[in-house]
Symmetry: C2
Subunit: 420 residues, 2 copies
């Protein structure tokens, strides 16, 4: 038996990711990916192969334990076609979504369906060993609960809230988590999960992957996902693929200049979108409004909070109809919309999905964003443009992390960049 064989039931020898395929095998796997359960006839149609060649490649994949037959499809005349599917015994996938203040982990099968999940508060300012150690603990708990071994984890997708050098899988100058700079996240997990291939990406890219998986966005060619929270980031789907850019840091829109005379941002520049419109700026402005006597409601909240306000307090005030709070949210929405207007002219997406903690503040923000985009973008670029809240909401991150890991599960022999 070679290494790339499914585990036998007696003497355990585990499959190791990434799984190497021939180019023909990759075409079959790709056909299955797009269609779930598929018949040989459909595969022959999609690949343009003869029946004989299709059967040969499919049979090889079944023999290796990668595919299984799963019942029968609908006959179009003649024998009912037998359907093929990935062999769920092959292994499992882990998705990790590390947020600034929370941690979400899911165990999924080889088709990306979530089997178990767990989430808890977390502080990303902790040293990486500590937070990642907690992740490993939680993954192990999930495997135990599901009755599987750590060696059966074939892929781990990790989303982190900071700029990632995607090729190396490390954070680069992450403002929220300086201790994580260049920390080898992949190696950390590989020490415990020996069979797994680990992929690290930033939180908005995995949100975009999750959005694509959610069904609604599956057929969209070009869309953006905007995450508004402690920072502001953007996931870019271009031609149905995540656009990461030349250094893997595309989508870092939080540091686009909104006002050259604006406040100093933590990046060192003046008037960045993030410094003016994200969570901390919203809280700051609310405290200013409270101190200036512009809102009794905010002032009371601040007093009962020990002299500070959080973005969530501003949200509460908005829900109560507090005009000062609403004005702050509208101003944030307008600034975000002004930046998006430029990106709409440049990128011409069909959809923009707004997500992240601040997005939960509701319609006032969304309306302000929409208004600014429509006012400043060119008509041709906005005629068919839809701006809405993220469909998958808080699930997008962990779903996207699973999708990311699945993208790197199979690779083509002699061509490590040919993802299946």
């Amino acid at each position: 038996m070679t290494q790339n064989t499914a585990p036998a039931s007696t003497k355990q020898k585990y499959l190791k990711a990434p799984v190497m395929l021939s180019k023909s095998e990759a075409e079959v796997v790709r056909a299955l990916r797009g269609n779930g359960q598929t018949s040989r006839v459909d595969i022959a149609h999609m690949t343009g192969w003869s029946r004989a060649k299709t059967s040969q490649v499919v049979n090889a994949l079944i023999e290796k334990g990668y595919l299984v037959q799963v019942g029968e499809g609908i006959s179009k005349g003649g024998r009912k076609p037998r359907l093929l599917s990935f062999n769920k015994q092959l292994g499992y996938i882990i998705g990790i979504d590390i947020g600034a203040t929370s941690l979400e982990i899911a165990l999924a099968d080889i088709n990306g369906s979530i089997l178990r999940r767990v989430s808890e508060p977390a502080d990303v300012r902790l040293p990486p060993e500590e937070l990642l150690g907690r992740c490993s603990m939680l993954i192990l708990e999930l495997t135990v609960a599901h009755g599987i071994r750590p060696e059966q984890i074939l892929g781990i997708g990790v989303g982190v809230p900071g700029p990632v050098d995607f090729t190396r899988g490390v954070l680069v100058a992450p403002p929220l988590m300086p201790d994580w700079e260049n920390y080898p996240i992949r190696n950390f997990f590989k020490e415990t999960f020996l069979s797994a291939f680990v992929v690290v990406d930033n939180d908005v890219n995995i949100m975009a992957l999750g959005e694509q998986r959610s069904g609604f966005a599956a057929n969209l060619d070009h869309f953006l996902v905007i995450k508004i929270g402690t920072g502001i980031g953007c996931g870019i789907m271009a031609g149905r693929k995540i656009h990461r850019g030349s250094d893997g840091c595309a989508g870092d829109i939080g540091h686009i200049c909104v006002d050259k005379q604006g406040p100093i941002c933590r990046c060192g520049n003046q008037g960045c979108l993030e410094a003016m419109a994200a969570g901390p700026a919203i809280a700051e402005k609310a405290m200013q409004a409270a101190s200036d006597g512009k809102s009794e409601f905010l002032l009371k909240l601040m007093e009962s909070n020990g002299g500070v306000l959080t973005p969530e307090n501003v949200n509460t005030a908005c829900r109560e109809g507090d005009e000062a709070a609403l004005e702050i949210i509208r101003a944030s929405g307008q600034m975000i919309g002004d930046v998006l207007a430029g990106l709409v002219n440049f990128f011409n997406p069909s959809h923009i999905f707004i997500g992240g903690g601040i997005a939960n503040f509701g319609n006032h923000l969304l309306i302000a964003i929409k208004r600014a985009v429509l006012r400043r973008s060119l008509p041709l670029a906005t005629t068919n443009l839809t701006i809405s809240f993220s469909r998958t909401g808080s699930n997008a991150g962990v779903i996207g992390a699973i999708m990311l890991a699945l993208e790197y599960l199979f690779v083509v022999k002699d061509d490590p960049y040919y993802l299946v």
Copy 2:
């Protein structure tokens, strides 16, 4: 003989584009495209096919007259491999680059090599029938000079200086050329060139294709081409493909807001980049500087010009070291750089190529652009970023138009969107 056969020498029956291929044939054509002359062994290696299948597909393409054998390659032991190439007798390609004030047309062979070219001044404000009629005349002159028939033109690529709805091949709300709105450019040429498939795109997209073809940018995944002239536009290469966006109007960066209190743009908004930094704004500011007594040189030029200044006059003044003119160009460069800084954060390209009439004004503009980008973009996005003048210069447009036409020369049967 079927329609898709190369012209026989006696009774002429011409091939018509797009040429339909089977999926296997398309793979061979694609392999040839990427490598120029290629042997059967190389094709077998690239496609992963057996020798028998490779020979079968290649022979079918030779029989149809699409490919020919062209001498021998270098032996790696054994018989020297015979090389394959496109059959140049198959037909010809026309590239048309319509600028605001000029017209450039080239006749190329099936490999995209230019055989003959012609250029002349033109006024894009003319009615489309008139300007396109002139194009047809010039193409016919090129065919006559080369001793070929109009029916041998298989593809015509057209670049126009305005927003194009790429799917329909028409201009939408073009500010420079209002008469062209929705004008059926494709049909116009099809009436004269019966075998040709006509593709229309905006001037910056064809520049980006030309830049990619120029050699230097051939291996770049993500780059931008900025055209600064009467307007300001951007061609986007994402994953080695032109990114046109959902409505085909991506890259329209001339209308990104630079100053909310700025002058009214022809698009109706205030303070667009184009209204503040492109050719007409440069001329306007120079006239203001002359009137305000800030530059004797500009004032003299204006007086000798009948009271007006052109962007070219400002260029002349810059070359003479006129400080007022230099300041105007630096200010334009800074505004363009500020917008590009945001796009660098968003898109993370490895290269930005600056072209167009104003780009010829030289280093002062480029330095100001670079300075603004470096100051406002995030370090990770600029570490490996190169900003330079376009390598292909004024050739990029017409070369790109040829490339565009070639992209649509072959399509796969049953899948009109599968470009070879």
